[in-house]
C-alpha cells in the first residue's frame, strides 16, 4: 500500500515507495566511459556554462553555507585540539581537552540532565500534541482555525518574556501557582528552588511553549491520512479509542518519529528556555539541575572564554547526538510491514 508520508525517516525503504524512475531522470549525470575522460572535463565545463544562470541562482545558499556553516565546522574542529582562549596563536594541546572532558563533572551532569529532561517532557508533550491534533482534526470541532492559533501562540511568544513570566508565576513565596496550590493543601512548593522543582518548572515552560509547534506538525500529518481507514475500522466495530491506537498512531508513526527526534535534540540543546527561567545562575539552575550540553558549551566558550575546550565539547556532543539519532531512526523508523498496517 502507499501510505501517505509526511516526513519519512525510514532508511531501508522499499524501492516502490518513492518515485524512483522520475527521481533518477531528474538528477541523472551521464556516466562517461574511460576513453572519453579527456573530453569529459570539457563537457562538464560546457554543462556548467550552459547552466550558469541556474547555478548562479542557487549559489547564495552554498556561499552562505561555506562561510557560516562549513568554515566554522572545520575551524572548530581545529580548535578542538588547542587551548585557544580567543586571542593569540593556536597552541596545540593534542587530546588534552578530551581527557579533561572525561573528568568534567558539569559536562556529564549536563548530559544526564538532557536525558532526564527528555524522559520528563517528551512523552508527555508528544502525546498531548497528538491528542490535540486528533481532536482539532475531527469534524466536530468548530472554530478549528481559532483553536489552532490559540495553541500555536506560545510558540511565537518571545522566550525571554515567557521565562520571566514563569519566574513570577512559580515564585515560591509570591507566585500564583503556589497560591493556587495552597487551596489544595500544597504549601510552598519550591518550584524554582530545588533540583526536581527546577526541572519540573522547566518542563512546564517547554511544553507550554512547544506544544503548539508539535501539534501543527501532527495536524499536518493527520490531514494527509484519508478518513477511509478510520471509517473502515469504525464500521468493522472498533471503538474510537481503538481506532486511535490501532489505526491513527501506526499511520502517524513517521510523523511521531520526526517530532520525537526533534524533541530529543531539543532536550539536549535547551538554551533560551533555561536561561530565561534561571537567569541568576545563567541557566544552570539549582545545583546545575538544568544545565544542558549546549549551555555548558556556551558557558565555556563565551563566559569562561575557553574556545578550544568548548570546541572539543561540541564535537563530543555532536558525536553523541549523531549516534542517538541514528539509533532512533533505525530502531523506531524501520518499515516493518507486520507492525504497521
Amino acid at each position: 500500500m502507499h501510505s501517505p508520508q509526511v516526513a519519512d525517516f525510514s532508511i531501508n525503504k522499499p524501492a516502490e515507495k518513492c518515485a524512483m524512475g522520475k527521481q533518477a531522470e531528474l538528477t541523472s549525470i551521464p556516466i562517461r566511459k574511460p576513453e572519453h575522460r579527456a573530453a569529459a572535463g570539457g563537457r562538464l565545463w560546457k554543462e556548467l556554462v550552459k547552466s550558469r544562470w541556474g547555478l548562479f541562482f542557487i549559489s547564495p545558499f552554498f556561499l552562505l553555507y561555506a562561510i557560516f556553516g562549513f568554515y566554522p565546522l572545520v575551524y572548530s574542529f581545529i580548535l578542538a585540539f588547542t587551548d585557544w582562549t580567543g586571542k593569540g596563536p593556536l597552541d596545540f594541546s593534542g587530546l588534552a581537552n578530551l581527557n579533561l572532558i572525561l573528568k568534567d563533572q558539569v559536562f556529564w551532569q549536563a548530559m544526564r540532565n538532557g536525558a532526564i529532561l527528555f524522559f520528563m517532557y517528551v512523552p508527555l508533550q508528544t502525546f498531548l500534541a497528538l491528542v490535540l491534533a486528533v481532536v482539532l482534526n475531527s469534524k466536530r470541532v468548530r472554530g478549528f482555525a481559532f483553536f489552532r492559533t490559540l495553541i500555536f501562540v506560545p510558540y511565537v511568544t518571545n522566550m525571554v518574556a515567557a521565562g520571566y513570566t514563569f519566574q513570577l508565576l512559580l515564585n515560591q513565596k509570591y507566585g500564583v501557582f503556589n497560591s493556587f496550590l495552597s487551596w489544595f493543601g500544597f504549601a510552598n512548593v519550591p518550584w524554582l528552588d530545588s533540583v526536581w522543582g527546577a526541572r519540573a518548572s522547566l518542563c512546564l515552560l517547554i511544553v507550554w511553549a512547544w506544544l503548539g509547534y508539535n501539534m501543527v506538525i501532527m495536524l499536518a500529518g493527520l490531514q494527509t491520512i484519508p478518513n477511509d481507514y478510520c471509517e473502515a475500522a469504525l464500521i468493522d466495530g472498533a471503538s474510537p479509542i481503538q481506532a486511535f491506537f490501532y489505526v491513527t498512531i501506526p499511520l502517524m508513526r513517521p510523523v511521531i518519529l520526526f517530532v520525537v527526534v526533534l524533541s530529543t535534540m531539543g532536550s539536549f540543546g535547551l538554551f533560551a528556555e533555561t536561561i530565561s527561567l534561571f537567569p541568576s545562575t545563567f541557566g544552570s539552575g539549582p545545583l546545575n539541575a538544568t544545565v544542558t550540553p549546549i549551555l555548558a558549551i556556551y558557558n565555556q566558550a563565551f563566559r569562561n572564554f575557553r574556545f578550544g575546550y568548548a570546541a572539543t565539547m561540541a564535537y563530543v556532543y555532536f558525536a553523541f547526538i549523531f549516534v542517538l539519532t541514528l539509533f532512533q531512526v533505525r530502531y523506531f523508523g524501520r518499515d516493518d510491514e507486520s507492525e504497521g498496517l
Binding site: T85, G86, K87, G88, L100, K103, D104, Q105, V106, Q167, L168, N171, Q172, K173, Y174, P190, L192, D193, S194, V195, A198, F278, P279, S280, T281, F282, S284, G285, P286, L287, N288, N299, F302, R303, N304, F305, R306, Y309
Partner: protein, 475 residues
C-alpha cells in the same frame, strides 16, 4: 645664478622645517617645549655648470606655537551600563561643552553582554568600542587576554590618589590598563522599622555595636525572627550566587587563590567561612530570594513584610533609593558589616567598576580625555557620587562636605561617612582574578550543594577546587 642658490637654500630650509614642525604640532600636552634646532644640510649648488657640494649649518627656529595644544577630536563609542549617571548629572553636557569636537556615543549593554562583546571584538581584532566599563571582577581576565591600551603613563599621576586595592586587577607586568571608577565598600543596610518592632536598638552606632561579629549578627537575626517572624536577609540555598560568601572571604583577605597563584578554594579558612555562613541557614533566618529577581525586590520594598537587612556594597544605595525601594525612604539605616571575629576588619568590597580603552580605538586621545574628565577630576566624581552612591575611587574627593551631609533616605544618617570609612579599610582580597567567572560558577554550585544538604562543606569545596585546578591548570 645667485638667486638659484637662494631658492635652493630656501627649499632646504623649508624641508628641514617641514621635518621638525609636524613632530611638534600634535603634541599631547601643552608642555611641549620649542627648542632651537640645528642641523646640517647638504646643499648642492650649481655654479656655472659644475655641481658643488657645500655643507652648511642651518638654524631653524620655528615660530613659537600657541601654548594650548589642540584638543582631541573625533567620535568615541562607550560600552557599559552605568553611563546614565553621567547623563543624569549633566556631566555629559559639561564634557561636550569642554570638548565640542568629541562626539560621544553611549551603547548600553548589561555587564554580561558588555564582557561578551568586548571579548569577541578583541578576539576578532575589530569592532570594539573605544571606552568600555569593566568591573574589577572581570578586569584581570581582559588584561591577561591583551588588547587593552596601555595607560601606564596617563595613570601615573593618579596612582597615589586612587584606592590602592583597585589597581591590583589593572596591572600586569608593571603596566596599567584601566582607570578605577568607583569602589564597592560593603556595609550592612538594615530596616529601622523592623529592628524597632523586634525591640532592638535602631540607632546606627548601637546597631554597629550589636553586629560587631557574625555571631552577634546571628543573635540579632534570631531575635528578629522570634519577635517579628521576618527574615533577616536573603541568602538562597538552592540558587546561591556566592556573592555574600565572596564578601566574607574578601573581608578576611582571603579569596579563591593566594598571592602565589595556588587555588585556595578548599583551604581550611574557606571551609570555615562557608560553615560560618551556614549557621544562618540552620537558624532558619534567611529568605530564599535570589538577588535581582522580583521576589528579592518585593521583600526589599515591602512596607509591612520586609526583609530586615542586606549586606551589600554602597552602590546598592542608588538602586534602593530609586527603582527598588523608593517608597521605603527614611526606614533604612547603614551600619558596619559584622567582622569574622570581634576586632577584625569590618570592611569588604563587592563589585566596583573601571574604564578601559581598547587598543583598537582610533581616537585614544579623545577616549582618554573622556576618562580623565569623568574619573580623575574631583568635582566630577563628586557630582556622580552625590547622585548615585558610587563611592569614587578617587581619594581626593574624600574631604568634601558631601561626606558629612545627612541622607534623608537613611533616616537623616550621615551614611556616606561610613562608606568612606569602610573603603579606606578594604583589605587586598584574592576573589577577583583572571579566572573569576569560572571559579565563581564552580563555587556557587558547591555552595548550593552544601546548603541543600547534598555534601559537607569540605567535600563540596574540595570537588569545586579539583574542577577549578583541572580547568585552569593552577596548582
Amino acid at each position: 645664478m645667485y638667486s638659484k642658490l637662494t631658492i635652493l637654500r630656501l627649499i632646504s630650509l623649508g624641508l628641514a622645517l617641514a621635518l621638525i614642525l609636524p613632530a611638534c604640532a600634535p603634541g599631547p600636552a601643552p608642555t611641549a617645549e620649542i627648542r632651537e634646532v640645528v642641523m646640517t644640510v647638504e646643499v648642492t649648488t650649481i655654479v656655472e655648470g659644475t655641481p658643488q657640494v657645500v655643507i652648511q649649518e642651518v638654524t631653524a627656529t620655528p615660530e613659537p606655537l600657541p601654548v594650548q595644544a589642540p584638543k582631541p577630536e573625533g567620535r568615541i563609542v562607550l560600552w557599559g551600563w552605568s553611563y546614565d549617571v553621567m547623563e543624569s548629572t549633566g556631566l555629559l553636557d559639561d564634557f561636550n561643552a569642554e570638548y565640542p569636537d568629541i562626539e560621544v556615543e553611549i551603547v548600553t549593554y548589561n555587564s554580561g553582554d558588555t564582557y561578551q562583546n568586548l571579548r569577541l571584538a578583541l578576539s576578532a581584532g575589530q569592532g570594539a568600542a573605544d571606552v568600555v566599563q569593566v568591573e574589577n571582577s572581570h578586569l584581570a581576565g581582559f588584561v591577561a587576554m591583551g588588547g587593552l591600551a596601555d595607560l601606564t603613563d596617563q595613570v601615573a599621576p593618579l596612582m597615589d590618589k586612587m584606592n590602592q586595592y583597585k589597581w591590583k586587577d589593572a596591572e600586569l607586568d608593571g603596566k596599567y590598563y584601566a582607570v578605577p571608577w568607583d569602589s564597592g565598600p560593603v556595609v550592612l543596610y538594615y530596616r529601622r522599622d523592623v529592628f524597632e518592632q523586634a525591640g532592638l536598638p535602631t540607632n546606627p552606632d548601637e546597631v554597629s555595636q550589636l553586629v560587631s561579629s557574625w555571631d552577634g549578627y546571628l543573635e540579632v537575626c534570631k531575635t528578629i525572627k522570634a519577635e517579628t517572624g521576618l527574615n533577616c536577609f536573603a541568602n538562597s540555598k538552592a540558587n546561591n550566587d556566592a556573592r555574600l560568601y565572596e564578601i566574607i572571604l574578601w573581608q578576611q583577605g582571603l579569596g579563591y587563590y593566594n598571592p602565589d597563584g595556588q587555588v585556595t578554594v578548599d583551604s581550611p579558612e574557606n571551609v570555615a567561612t562557608l560553615e560560618k555562613m551556614s549557621e544562618f541557614w540552620s537558624a532558619g533566618v534567611t529568605s530564599e530570594e535570589v538577588p535581582w529577581t522580583d521576589g528579592w525586590y518585593a521583600e526589599l520594598q515591602s512596607l509591612d513584610e520586609p526583609v530586615a537587612s542586606i549586606i551589600e556594597a554602597s552602590w546598592l544605595g542608588v538602586f534602593l533609593k530609586s527603582w527598588i525601594a523608593g517608597d521605603t525612604a527614611g526606614r533604612w539605616g547603614v551600619a558596619y558589616m559584622p567582622a569574622m571575629q570581634t576586632g577584625q576588619p569590618r570592611a569588604s568590597n563587592d563589585g566596583g567598576s573601571t574604564l578601559v580603552i581598547t587598543e583598537q580605538s582610533q581616537n585614544k586621545e579623545a577616549a582618554w580625555a573622556f576618562i580623565e574628565f569623568m574619573l580623575a577630576r574631583r568635582e566630577n566624581q563628586l557630582k556622580q557620587f552625590a547622585f548615585s552612591d558610587f563611592l569614587p575611587a578617587l581619594e581626593t574627593t574624600y574631604d568634601d562636605h558631601l561626606f558629612i551631609e545627612p541622607d534623608s533616605f537613611f533616616g537623616g544618617q550621615v551614611a556616606r561617612k561610613i562608606y568612606l570609612d569602610v573603603a579606606m579599610q578594604i583589605p587586598i582580597g584574592y576573589v577577583y582574578g583572571p579566572y573569576y567567572q569560572l571559579m565563581h560558577d564552580h563555587v556557587s554550585t558547591a555552595i548550593q550543594r552544601y546548603a541543600t544538604g547534598a555534601l559537607s562543606a569540605e567535600a563540596t569545596l574540595k570537588e569545586a577546587a579539583t574542577q577549578i585546578r583541572q580547568e585552569t591548570g593552577m596548582p
